[in-house]
Amino acid sequence: MGISFVRVYKSNCNKLFLDNMVNENLVKDVVKEPYKYGFVTDIETEKIAKGLNEDVIRLISKKKEEPNYLLDFRLKAFKKWQKMDEPDWAGLGYKQIDYQDIIYYSAPKQKEKISSLDEVDPKLLETFDKLGIPLTEQKKLTNVAVDAVFDSVSIATTFREELAEHGVIFCSISEAVKNHSDLIEKYLGTVVPASDNYFAALNSAVFSDGSFVYIPKGVTCPMDLSSYFRINSGDSGQFERTLIIAEESSSVSYLEGCTAPMFDTNTLHAAVVELIALDDASIKYSTVQNWYAGDEEGVGGIFNFVTKRGKCLGKRSKISWSQVETGSAITWKYPSCLLLGEESVGEFYSVALTNNLQKADTGTKMIHIGPKTKSTIVSKGISAGNSINSYRGLVKMGTKAKGSRNYSQCDSMLIGDQASANTFPYIKSQQPNSEIEHEASTCRISEDQLFYLQSRGIEFEEAISMMVSGFCRDVFNQLPMEFAAEADKLLALKLEGSVG
């Protein structure tokens, strides 16, 4: 891992003196690498007209040939959404979203049914190749099954047969609606109800696709599962929905990656992720989020308003969230765990990096309901440029959470004197026989450490990268191997130019 972030920088930073370390003028001299996933794929897509009303929802449902219960679910959610107000408590200060100016369904045109990957539009495959996502099944070395979602629709899922041998279902949610309707009807909306919040209600009304995973009893998923989300059109919102069910004594590791092209308009991404873990099951959900963050003046970028929640229903079940958040103009995301089952475990490991004018308000909620439940929160925030990076988390011990424990650690690192780092932990306990510990600190890059590294001949920016990587190590250790390397690279890339 150490080698992966040794990068060649075009700056002349090694000539700098320590005193000038965070000098504004020098910052501008440092060459910036542009957002490399910012290209648009020229592909024929099928879009419906802009706007949102009951007819649009019926149309989406019809296009996807959905059963009635799902249409009802959508319509109910839409009615609830209409009555709700857009939340403003995080004070993120973005310009008002015109919900009638968004296309709610956009899909690459393709043949009715794809029997093998050869039938997928080669341009699409090329896009995913550019993104470094191996869709072709020949690339078995990576041993990761991928579900690729392009705009609103899942275009390909790899390694299906091998997974099917183990009884694992991994497909797009639209396919699951057709082939595993009973599971969808039983679990959809049970973790994040349609009326949960404004964006969850919107998603429930218009979600177009996403991934579905079902791990049967006693099965350890033979490979990591991965979904890759790509927004391609500038005027369509992305509303995917992910549902993962881990039956008794099963386990799965799921990876999620996101990129989008550069547009000077803001695109809305409002996803819902629901995880359900039964007795002794374990789900590990990792995200590397690198949506387009807008340019230096804050023009464009994705509004990332996501509801992610896991329910530890069974005894000794475990849900672990790990995330690396580097993209999006605004991130608003609190992956949470409802710890219902006795001795269930919730974990949250997060690195959030903001630069330029990005705003991130992210954290977690650990709701301890069952006895002897445990949760761990490790959050690392790095703010550079003029960005705002906030940790907002809730730890709640319910009256029945006897013998439960929580440990939270939130560290922030500030780079430059224009960025802001905030910590808002909400801690509530109603159970005397439980323990909550929370600690938070804020620091800057240590001059002593920097001097030490430089005196050993390590270049300035490389030293910064190493220190940032060290700062995030607790979280990177939790990421699957491929993601850890990617995350490291991503951070180095994002930070380029912010330290002078």
Partner: protein, 405 residues
């Protein structure tokens, strides 16, 4: 909600002063605090409305102070009962601030008020009549410790205001005692202005009785090289709020806070602190302890704000909480808002019960469970109580808390 009705119709106080008029006007636009704001979200609405149910009482009340007789070594003042204060000694002086000056200062403060954050102050200043506003200017050194009492009377709402200017190089110990009576509400607002190189060792003891309520707001402005220490204790209130607002106006100042709140029965006591660093090299060390028993609810919210100008700030905040009953609740929210990059800021929070291993150890030595718990609690309390000035030798606060039912 009698008070609110009166505010709405503006019939609250006869012969209103300018200050009362300004505050009543502001309150008319927000007669009740915004329940959606973080500062009031957790407040028990029924209890709070109970606070406002009493009528304002401005009469001169004789009050028997349940604390030791005044010793000659301390200066004792009772807000509302001191007509003229002028103490000029060889090395110090304590004088009442002139009405005009006091008026001007309070108006200045009001102009910076935010209706959500300073709602308690607005209420206080709209109710506090001239007689109940005590303004003092203190200078010199080797000043004897000062005790200042505010008290409520039964079945009424009392508002008391204290303004103190500490002049350059002045160094004092001051204990403020807020006393509640049966079924009473007390609104206490305090304003301190610490000039350069001054030092204030401040203690706040708020001690209620059955069904007493308290809104206690403390505003401190610290100029550079000043030092402010606060030791506070709040207990036995049906409903109490302690709002601390400290501003280091030029940085380079030191603030130490050690506070404690104890809730029993169905009481709710909350502490809200906001520390603003408006200059570089500020220092803060804060610890807040809560203990919640029976069906009570203890709340702590502390925010530390470090803008860009406040480089080299060193701030730490710790919230420690003991939850002793299945039906009690604790909410705590220490928060950091930081823009300056060269700072050391940290906070921590814990919620737990008494340490079982320590209890077990003591029991194996033949100490009963009740005694062992008491011993552990006394060590938990002692850290804060020993920090409260003046009270140390003369008032057995620890005994009062431990043996209080």
């Amino acid at each position: 909600m009698e008070i609110i009705e009166k505010i709405k119709t503006n019939k609250l106080v006869e012969k209103q002063t300018d200050i009362q008029k300004i505050c009543l006007d502001k309150l008319q636009s927000s007669p009740l605090p915004n329940p959606k704001s973080e500062l009031w979200r957790l407040s028990n609405k029924i209890k709070f409305s109970n606070f406002l149910d009493y009528s304002v009482n401005e009469k001169n009340l004789k009050f028997d102070i349940p604390y030791p007789n005044n010793s000659q070594k301390t200066i004792r003042l009772i807000i509302g009962q001191n007509c003229q204060i002028q103490l000029i000694e060889e090395n110090y002086s304590i004088q009442q601030i002139s009405e005009d000056e006091l008026d001007k200062y309070i108006k200045e403060q009001i102009s910076c008020f935010n209706e959500t954050e300073n709602w308690s102050d607005l209420l206080n200043l709209s109710l506090s009549c001239k007689k109940n506003i005590l303004g003092l200017r203190i200078n010199g050194s080797k000043i004897p410790p000062i005790e200042i009492f505010s008290h409520a009377s039964s079945n009424s709402l009392n508002a008391k205001t204290l303004v103190i200017f500490l002049e350059k190089n002045c160094d004092i110990e001051l204990l403020q005692v807020n006393l509640g009576k049966d079924n009473s509400s007390l609104s206490q607002s305090t304003f301190f202005f610490l000039e350069e190189h001054s030092s204030l060792n401040h203690g706040v003891v708020s001690y209620g009785k059955n069904g007493s309520n308290l809104l206690n707001s403390l505003n401190v402005i610290q100029q550079k090289n000043s030092e402010y220490s606060l030791g506070s204790l709040h207990f036995k209130f049906n409903y109490a709020r302690f709002e601390i607002n400290i501003k280091q106006s030029e940085g380079n100042a030191k603030t130490n806070i050690k506070g404690m709140q104890i809730t029993k029965k169905d009481e709710q006591i909350s502490t809200y602190t906001k520390i603003n660093f408006d200059g570089p090299n500020g220092f803060l060390d804060q610890i807040n302890k809560s203990l919640a028993d029976d069906k009570s609810h203890a709340i702590f919210e502390g925010s530390i704000i470090v803008p860009k100008i406040a480089q080299k700030t060193d701030a730490s905040q710790l919230s420690r909480n003991l939850l002793l009953s299945d039906l009690a609740q604790i909410d705590t929210k220490p928060q950091l808002e930081i823009i300056a990059d060269d700072v050391k800021c940290k906070h921590g929070a814990t919620i737990s019960q008494l340490n079982e291993e320590e209890l077990f150890y003591m029991r194996t030595r033949g100490i009963t469970l009740a005694e062992a718990s008491k011993l552990q609690l006394s060590s938990y309390f002692q850290e804060i109580i020993s920090f409260i000035p003046v009270s140390k030798e003369r008032w057995d606060l620890l005994d009062k808390i431990l043996n209080e039912n």
